[in-house]
């Protein structure tokens, strides 16, 4: 399309083939284009904002040097805030904002606002370029003998097919594969149950109805240090709760609790958040991540939420010295499901 064609469309509008071109509305000049005093006023406004921005930067430096970090400012309902933080943020934010506002104001009021029509070019290459490219490609195929020399072609394809194999071999070696480690924790027959953080062993009479204790195996620290394996803790964390034995509807195994004391994994079976939001009157255990809810009085079954499996129960008993111990490891994998899990 030619240049004089463009002016025609801009002023009158024409129909060309199937395309209807609409004219632009007539251009109205702004006040700053027609009134020099308005233009000067806009110029002063922009400059003032640039100067204010500069002053804010100086105020920022002054605030940084002068305001002690012990000073606090009361902002009413928004609470209190460190004065230094507040002033630094305010001055630097204003400095940035004023430059931005000034630039936009400048562009809107003073820079040229004449409409310009800029036509799009056709996307495709000209036909002669396409023909030339096709001819060059065909000549290359003919000269290389790719079609006639079958042996070369087939061996090349074979070589390319083998090419990605090292990648697969290397990726497979990123292991070692977890083996059966997902199915076991460090709980053993006779592992003593100790309170988390304090490491204090527990007797059944230490817990009363309604009690909740976050616990781990007594030998956790030694095992972690020997193996250099932090996963042991993640998998072995449990909670102990005590309820009236008459409140227990069902358990995952016969004789797995001790006088109303039940031990469950602390790791949600959905995606593995640690949970201890135990509601002692409903016996519900709520996961804060996705609201899966387990009924600990009824085999830890899921009563709400996305978890698909009951919370695994740890069989417990009391040893000869009267301390709570595990009867065995968990009888099923703890934590979220995995592909190989039956």
């Amino acid at each position: 399309m030619s240049n004089d064609h463009k002016t025609d469309i801009a002023t009158t509008g024409i129909v060309e083939g199937d395309i209807v071109e609409f004219p632009l509305p007539p251009h109205h000049h702004r006040l700053t284009d027609t009134d020099p005093r308005a233009a000067r006023r806009a110029e002063r406004q922009v400059s003032t904002m640039f100067i204010l921005s500069g002053l804010c930067i100086i105020a920022f430096i002054a605030a940084y040097i002068a305001i002690p970090e012990t000073s606090y400012l009361n902002l009413g309902p928004a609470g209190t805030i460190q004065t230094s933080n507040f002033m630094l943020g305010l001055t630097f934010g204003l400095a940035t904002l004023l430059i931005g506002i000034a630039a936009i104001h400048w562009a809107k009021k003073l820079m040229s606002d004449e409409e310009i029509v800029d036509y799009r070019h056709p996307v495709g290459s000209p036909q002669e370029d396409r023909d030339a490219a096709k001819a060059a490609f065909d000549a290359g195929v003919a000269e290389s003998g790719f079609v006639e020399r079958k042996m070369v072609r087939r061996t090349l394809l074979g070589a390319l097919a083998l090419f990605p194999l090292p990648l697969i071999v290397l990726l497979k070696d990123m292991g070692p594969l977890p083996g059966d480690s997902l199915r076991h924790t460090i709980w053993r027959k006779g592992s003593r149950i100790v309170i988390d953080v304090t490491g204090q062993p527990l007797r059944p009479e230490d817990m009363q109805v309604g009690s909740l204790v976050s616990a781990s195996p007594a030998d956790l620290k030694a095992i972690q240090e020997a193996d250099g394996d932090q996963n042991a803790r993640a998998k072995a964390s449990i909670i102990l709760v005590r309820m009236k034995p008459s409140d227990i509807v069902s358990e995952q195994g016969e004789g797995w609790s001790w006088n109303g004391i039940l031990a469950f994994s602390k790791i949600c079976t959905h995606v593995g958040c640690p949970i201890a939001l135990y509601q002692q009157r409903t016996h519900h255990l709520l996961c804060p991540c996705h609201q899966s809810t387990f009924d600990l009085a009824d085999s830890g079954k899921v009563v709400f939420g996305p978890a698909a499996r009951a919370m695994p129960q740890l069989p417990i008993t009391v040893d000869s010295e009267g301390f709570l111990v595990a009867q065995s490891d968990f009888q099923q994998p703890v934590g979220p499901s995995f592909w190989e899990r039956a």
């Binding site: 209190t80 805030i81 460190q82 936009i104 809107k108 230490d206 909740l212 009157r281 409903t282």
Partner: protein, 260 residues
């Protein structure tokens, strides 16, 4: 069951109750300071007054003899600490049966609360109202309190003690306005759906460490200003998606507006 055996049961109960009171009272006085004993010991007048108040204000749900009903649990053996916590924080009496008993302005004054506590404490042995000595956190370990808080409390009460949601409309309340005595009582007695953290699983020294840490949370200044409930990404996200994006939209509209 004949009327004679019922009468005999009542008499036995009274004897056991009196014996229990005398033994606990004398035992407590023997092992504790006088300041503590004044908290733990109640006069018969208080017990009688408490019984009267109980039958007027509490018996509808908890039963005439505090034995419990379908509307409310038995209060035998819950101790003075439970009464002081529930009534002094206004949670009891509840306005109506509901999943959550919210904190509100207490209905009873201090003397009435003490009388109610005296009556319930007289029904069976239970945790006493903690003394000032129990709540003295001078020697408590702040860092240990933080670890214990995050292990035992933060799951429900939020890492900053601002509380959080539970199931079926229940929630764990914010600890920002709770007093040390109320929190100590809550740990001892497990009010509503809160589990019990009795002295065997969480010894008094550890409770005091937790109280010291919560006091730190309550009094620590907020250098960043607006905490938005300390709920993490939820409130912060809502704030930036509405206020932040709203401001950007307003600027975009201004940039695109026609100049006259």
């Amino acid at each position: 069951m004949t009327s004679t055996s019922v009468r005999r049961n009542k008499a036995t109960g009274l004897v056991v109750l009196l014996a229990g009171l005398v033994i606990t009272g004398v035992g407590y006085a023997a092992v504790t300071s006088t300041a503590e004993a004044s908290v733990a010991m109640y006069s018969q007048t208080q017990i009688d007054q408490g019984k009267q108040l109980f039958q007027q204000g509490c018996a509808t749900c908890h039963g005439l003899a505090a034995q419990g009903s379908s509307e409310g649990p038995s209060l035998i053996g819950v101790g003075a600490a439970a009464v002081n916590f529930q009534v002094a924080t206004g949670r009891m009496p509840m306005a109506q049966p509901a999943n959550q008993a919210p904190r509100k302005v207490p209905v009873y004054n201090d003397d009435q609360i003490a009388a109610l506590a005296a009556y319930v404490a007289s029904l069976g042995p239970g945790p006493a109202v903690p003394s000032d000595e129990d709540l003295n956190t001078t020697d408590a370990n702040l860092a240990e309190g933080g670890v214990l808080f995050r292990t035992n409390c933060a799951q429900c009460h939020n890492f900053a003690g601002h509380g959080g949601a539970l199931s079926n409309g229940k929630y764990a309340p914010s600890l920002m306005n709770a007093t040390p005595r109320q929190m100590y009582e809550a740990m001892l007695t497990g009010p509503q759906n809160m589990p019990v953290f009795n002295d065997k699983t969480l010894p008094p020294a550890e409770k005091r460490a937790i109280l010291k840490y919560i006091n730190e949370l309550q009094t620590a200044p907020s250098p960043g200003g607006l905490a938005l409930g300390s709920l993490g990404p939820v409130t912060e996200g809502i704030f930036i998606w509405t206020a932040g994006l709203g401001a950007l939209l307003a600027v975009a509209v201004w940039i695109g507006a026609k100049v006259r």
